[in-house]
């Protein structure tokens, strides 16, 4: 199969390409950029006039809800959502049921994802067995089965010695440890940022220090053990400052934030909007500004969707009882574009945060369009507005704080291995 994508605005952040250009695909791989490879005869031509062609998005956190929570979402529904959002590679956290702490489960998940032939799935293994924070998992076995890193997700890890051992062990084999810093005691019972809005609404608070106290410990342990560290979903201004300093002093650390946290604050909870019940909680305006600054200066490496589909019944409850999470795969691109427009960031710089940079964090040869690379491609219209509503989302999870809003940036086509896996209807 030979595909010719013509007249597109081609953006490939890693290779420094940002031009009106053509792309040539042969047998699932990028065969040429700009000039056609010798003897190229297209079987299929895609006219991408007025559209952007970029590497398929790489999402550092998307919950697919399998195994265990198929009533919320299935592998198929969420991988459809991924490609509808232009995401061609994603990392999924291990907080499934059972947790991804057994090589067999990881193999099964990878196998099932492969059969669907949509986005590539890269599981993160559990850092501790059943995420209970007590016993290490078989990291080498899990790595062989396909885990690209080891995460504790939102489960508490109260025992600092276990954390130290986990980082030492991971460092032994060069595995990356993924941690969302949160002191379980300081966050206990909390459901919203411990600030003005929680005070007014009478919601139990999660203070900013729950993040920063835990982060101080984690950074120190990373420096001590030499473990490769990826920090997930930072939410506070002080945490960004701490990571900035740690990076300056040479700690091997990368970090991401969720796209929701780049646009929303505690005030968006309004009158108890359960769609804003997220982890970490939406923070203050100053925190949001700190995150934006950190993303712009590179302290924060990547943006992720933190896709967490929740069924309607689980959201139809008072705020604190409503399940945490929001659908996100189909919003990652528009929310990134919105940030770029708001902050005056160029399109290539913005797209790097959801393509080449997260690919680097996952250690993948993806997120770029170099000749010879897998033709995982996102074609989108950056100017088309669309309304976020249940019927416009492919994900089984329909809950997001952006419900009812119009966002710019609509994916037209997504290709994986040079095959069109999504075509806008």
């Amino acid at each position: 199969m030979k595909i010719h994508i013509k007249n597109s605005r081609l953006i490939d952040p890693r290779n420094g390409i940002n031009a009106i250009s053509d792309l040539y695909i042969v047998a699932g791989k990028v065969a040429g950029v700009g000039d056609a490879p010798e003897g190229f005869n297209a079987n299929q031509t895609i006219d991408a006039s007025g559209l952007v062609v970029c590497p398929g998005l790489v999402d550092l956190s998307a919950r697919l809800r399998e195994p265990g929570f198929e009533y919320k979402a299935t592998l198929e529904s969420e991988l459809q959502a991924a490609v509808a959002g232009g995401v061609t590679s994603l990392a999924c956290p291990p907080d499934t049921d059972p947790t991804l702490d057994e090589p067999g489960l990881v193999q099964m998940l990878k196998h099932r994802a492969k059969l669907l032939n949509l986005a590539h799935v890269y599981p993160l293994g559990a850092l501790t067995r059943q995420l209970e924070g007590r016993q290490l998992t078989e990291m080498c076995e899990l790595h062989e089965a396909g885990c690209v890193g080891f995460a504790q997700t939102d489960a508490p890890l109260n025992d600092t010695r276990v954390l130290l051992r986990a980082m030492q062990y991971a460092a032994t084999f060069g595995f990356t440890v993924w941690l969302r810093p949160q002191d379980a005691f300081l966050a206990q019972g909390g459901v919203a940022h411990d600030g003005e809005v929680a005070a007014r609404l009478g919601l139990a608070g999660i203070p900013a220090i729950a993040e920063t106290v835990a982060l101080a410990t984690i950074l120190r342990l990373a420096a001590e053990t030499g473990a490769k560290l990826h920090l997930c979903r930072l939410s506070t201004r002080i945490a960004v400052e701490m990571v900035r300093k740690a990076k300056q002093s040479g700690v091997a650390v990368t970090c991401d934030i969720a796209a929701n946290h780049l646009h929303l604050t505690e005030h968006d909870i309004g009158f108890f909007d359960a769609n804003c019940h997220l982890k970490p909680p939406l923070r203050s305006q100053r925190d949001l500004e700190g995150l934006r600054e950190g993303l712009q200066d590179g302290t924060i490496d990547a943006l992720c969707s933190d896709h967490t589909p929740v069924d309607d019944d689980a959201k139809l409850l008072p705020f604190a009882e409503a399940e945490v999470g929001a659908t996100g795969l189909e919003l990652l691109l528009p929310l990134t574009l919105k940030w770029a427009a708001d902050a005056g960031v160029t399109l290539p710089d913005a797209l790097a945060r959801i393509t080449s940079i997260p690919a680097g964090i996952l250690g993948l040869d993806a997120g770029h369009l170099g000749v010879g690379s897998s033709a995982d491609i996102c074609i989108f219209d950056p100017l088309q507005y669309w309304k976020v509503e249940a019927k416009s989302l492919a994900s089984q999870g329909k809950n997001t704080p952006f419900l009812g809003l119009e966002l710019a940036g609509k994916v037209r086509q997504t290709l994986v291995h040079g095959q069109v896996v999504y075509q806008k209807p």
Partner: protein, 317 residues
């Protein structure tokens, strides 16, 4: 953002919290309550304003006093009243809030009085009921207890007449108190120039100053020259642990005694939403003393709840 408590033309549709209500509506409720205060003293304690209407008290969290005063208020307005302690029935069987509410809607209730342990529960229910049903929040978690806030300012108005020259101190566990939040909003909306909160740092919410109050940790300094002292109840489970070392130490630092009350103005009144912990937040001699208006608060509570119900019933969508 639309105010979920008001109709499109700015009338009271639900009473969910004091926050967001304009001063005119608060005054309308207080004035109406004034006219009902006499009804309770008549031989026939009834007016026919809610005849033929069904008021449904849904208490997901148990309460005797509040439920009883709502029942009496509804009955004095000639409504039919049904009270459910859902905490002990359907919820225990796994029924969701909305299932419970839907069932009562199907029985043609006209007004819901709701109490729930979660902040925001009343807003949640109000969002899901059909437009002809009115919802009154009778306490949701730590968030709001608007009729308590209203009866408190009604009590103050009866004893002090004006709000614009008052200094009011609220003492105790503000962090966990829906009563305190309602009182603060009611007082600041009605124009009280100085609202103080007095508590140890462990019992104050983050950024509490943003609610428009002055913060005191020293009770003696905080009570100096105030016109009104509003005490808060300290829940048993907060008395010993990481928030407070003991009930005894709390009483020593934040309990209201005659000696501390003497720092307030000589005609200061003392209030408490009940039920009281004598010897923990308040000394018996103060609770039963000449400056206490704690029992009148209970009496006024009925008139205020009658006022709220009659105003809501008069504002159809």
């Amino acid at each position: 953002m639309n105010n979920p408590q008001l109709t499109k033309d700015g009338k009271l549709k639900h009473l969910l919290s004091i926050e967001g209500l304009p001063k005119t509506i608060l005054n309308q409720i207080l004035d109406t309550a004034e006219s009902f205060a006499g009804v309770s003293e008549r031989e026939v304690k009834k007016v026919p304003l809610l005849r033929g209407k069904t008021v449904c008290n849904i208490f997901f969290e148990n309460s005797t006093r509040t439920r009883t005063t709502f029942e009496i208020a509804a009955k004095r307005l000639s409504a039919d009243v049904v009270s459910l302690n859902v905490g002990t029935s359907s919820q225990a069987k796994g029924e969701t809030i909305l299932d419970t509410v839907d069932n009562l809607i199907a029985m043609h209730a006209d007004m819901f009085v709701v109490r729930h342990a979660q902040s925001g529960a009343a807003h949640f229910i109000a969002r899901h009921v059909p437009s002809h049903i009115h919802v009154i929040n009778a306490g949701d978690g730590r968030h709001s207890h608007p009729t308590q806030g209203l009866l408190d300012v009604f009590t103050i108005r009866r004893h002090k007449r004006e709000f614009h020259n008052l200094r009011v101190a609220i003492v105790g566990d503000v962090l966990h108190s829906r009563v305190a939040r309602s009182e603060i909003h009611a007082l600041t909306t009605l124009g009280v120039p100085e609202v103080r909160v007095i508590a140890p740092k462990t019992l104050l919410p983050a950024d509490v100053e943003r609610l428009g109050v002055q913060v005191f940790h020293d009770m003696r300094a905080g009570l100096k020259d105030v016109d009104v002292v509003m005490m808060l109840r300290l829940q048993n489970e907060r008395m010993s642990g990481a928030l407070l070392p003991s009930a005894q130490e709390y009483f020593k630092c934040y309990g209201l005694t005659q000696e501390k009350l003497a720092l307030a103005k000589s005609d200061a009144i003392v209030m408490h939403p009940g039920p009281m912990n004598r010897g923990v937040e308040i000394d018996s001699s103060v609770a039963d003393g000449s400056q206490s208006v704690i029992l009148p608060q209970v009496t006024y509570g009925i008139a205020v709840r009658m006022a709220v119900m009659s105003i809501l019933a008069g504002n159809p969508e």
